[in-house]
Symmetry: none
Subunit: 413 residues, 2 copies
Amino acid sequence: MEAVILSIGNEITTGQTVDTNSAWLSRQVSELGIRIPRHVTVADDLEAIREEIEQAARKTDLVLVTGGLGPTEDDLSRQALAAAMGVDLEVREEHVERIRAFFTARGRQMPESNRTQALFPAGSEAIDNTCGTAPGIKAVCGRATVFVMPGVPREMQEMYRLAVRPFLVRKTGGTRMQAVTLHTFGAGESDIGDLIRDLMDRKHNPTVGTTAKQGVISVRIHSYGRNQDESRLLLEETAAEVRKRLGTLVFGQDEDTLAHAVGRLLIAKRKTLATAESCTGGLIAKLITDVPGSSDYFRQGLVTYANEAKTRLLGVPAGLIQKYGAVSHEVAEALVTEIRLRGEVDYAISVTGVAGPGGGNAQKPVGLVYIGLADATGCEVTRHLFGEHLTRAEIRERTAWTALNRLRLSLGA
Amino acid sequence: MEAVILSIGNEITTGQTVDTNSAWLSRQVSELGIRIPRHVTVADDLEAIREEIEQAARKTDLVLVTGGLGPTEDDLSRQALAAAMGVDLEVREEHVERIRAFFTARGRQMPESNRTQALFPAGSEAIDNTCGTAPGIKAVCGRATVFVMPGVPREMQEMYRLAVRPFLVRKTGGTRMQAVTLHTFGAGESDIGDLIRDLMDRKHNPTVGTTAKQGVISVRIHSYGRNQDESRLLLEETAAEVRKRLGTLVFGQDEDTLAHAVGRLLIAKRKTLATAESCTGGLIAKLITDVPGSSDYFRQGLVTYANEAKTRLLGVPAGLIQKYGAVSHEVAEALVTEIRLRGEVDYAISVTGVAGPGGGNAQKPVGLVYIGLADATGCEVTRHLFGEHLTRAEIRERTAWTALNRLRLSLGA
């Protein structure tokens, strides 16, 4: 079974709103084993919407439309669907009353314009909207079943769950696709590709692909079986093979970040952690504490942004900072040694660098970062050049992930 | 002039990734007065990509493609464009060398697979990628000029600015639309709506709309004139009216965050700042130091996550924490008073709360937060209930913005 996802609205085609509905619906529908060859977004234009519905309904079994059901003149999905079906619109009085009741329950009078929301193409079914005024529409057009849902994400999602999903589960027999995303850190996308080339070359089931974001290379695996068990088995085989080949490059899956991976290892080993950050300015502590339950291992973080703060909070000698500069191997070492001792923790991370855009020079360019890592056996400082072509935000994020990855590996991941 | 925006990738059609590139490009292109009738996303399928490029190139003047330029087998945009143009791909050795140089500069060897990124349809132009390996492509196909750009947002945006925009400015004569977004904090979306209803009801130029995100209500204004000066004049009139009505609710515009607003005020008044965070775990320091130049006023931040850290770093008596609890008016007050004194700064912020999802109870539910603010005249602690329906990340972000907004107002914004 194939589906086309169609979203309607000038606010999307002009870029004022990012279309998150299509991604949400795609995830839902993919899980049922329905393939999605394309998403289309069209402006609030009757002819254009009609044409897209018609074209999609010729080629696919299912068309999911979001948006264009509001009460204003630029809401044209009802008219376009009727035109594509070659039928007229008809008012259904019971829906006028439902919409009126929605307003009455909120102590307001229904504006006349909302009557248009009770218009339906002849022969179509109305779908109740449990959290807004606009009812949805289910209709047959060409070879396809077409569902039209509101553009407001919460209303759309609720309508999908209550009315669309049950229909699709009946049609498909329920979830057949399984998916997992394995996240790696420490190698480039082409290096990862080289290690799993033959799996990525497979045209068929399960499929394997990679995406890259801020140094994290993610491997996505999708499997389709005749039933859920078969899908899961196929998925697990391929996931195990990818994990075997990538070894400790893999730090987690799906919603995991490096902070989750680090957290799990610290809990398993009953170890504690503290941080001393300069150029990342609290980002590493923020990422660590994004994880619920991080209070079990994270004790404290210092953002020693000014040089005096490095001296006052961690006793880094002013002379050392003057001699080597705040961005130096020596200062990173002093910071990490002191935060570990004073924080009375097992592991400590320190960071000092030039995040830019200003503050760089030939000796210490933007993107130069020193990362210190200390444990009971001593401390080690690494030097990184994150490249002047990265933005301040990117340099900070790369730095944070690199530091957390070093900690992960030293925890024996 | 009309443009179709085409994004490529299974990660988008399966909903793993939300397509933000199309929205970004649409905003850029709309500003030049170019109409965008549709966005299309297609899966990594050679035939499907070719068909979409061909179809778009028949109907419109401009096709902007993002994605499918990576070095792996599922990157098919080059091949699809060549097929749509009816030409072969050719290797351009100078681009192999550029890609090799990109790796060499990073101390790595170019994987063989990256050679495919130097393939171009015969007769097309290469576009340099200043921040990644994949060059872009400019070609003529049907009646359209086609640009293919990388899917990585940063690389795509940079390529658009350097190579695509100048071409479009020559074609269109430059910007006719002007837009500004004013950001507010401290009132709800319907309250803001009530203050500027008549401006929002205008069907015409300039148009005014609101969006809400994590307590920040943003007012978007668009104007279209016969030329850039007329557009700007129209925009400035309406923006001035909105600013007048909303007063100190407005904290900035466009890329500004509350951290920028606070930074500008601290610089203007030559004041310094320190933070002591518990439940936000470094987020406030991170947001402050997101701003380039924040080292001029931000001295230090403490993440006193564990109770012992509150005592050790800021001398908060263990007895006080035991008596009132870490999440209390008293502890917020002690934290903010001590961080201001010990940090030797003019202003200080403290935060302690229950970010959840665990750790709440009837007396101290998830979402309860105390925010302390101290200056030379003393300190004030406010109590907030951010609601148990918010996620951990949302509670932390609301808390951070609320704290920064209190500081902004106390700096006399």
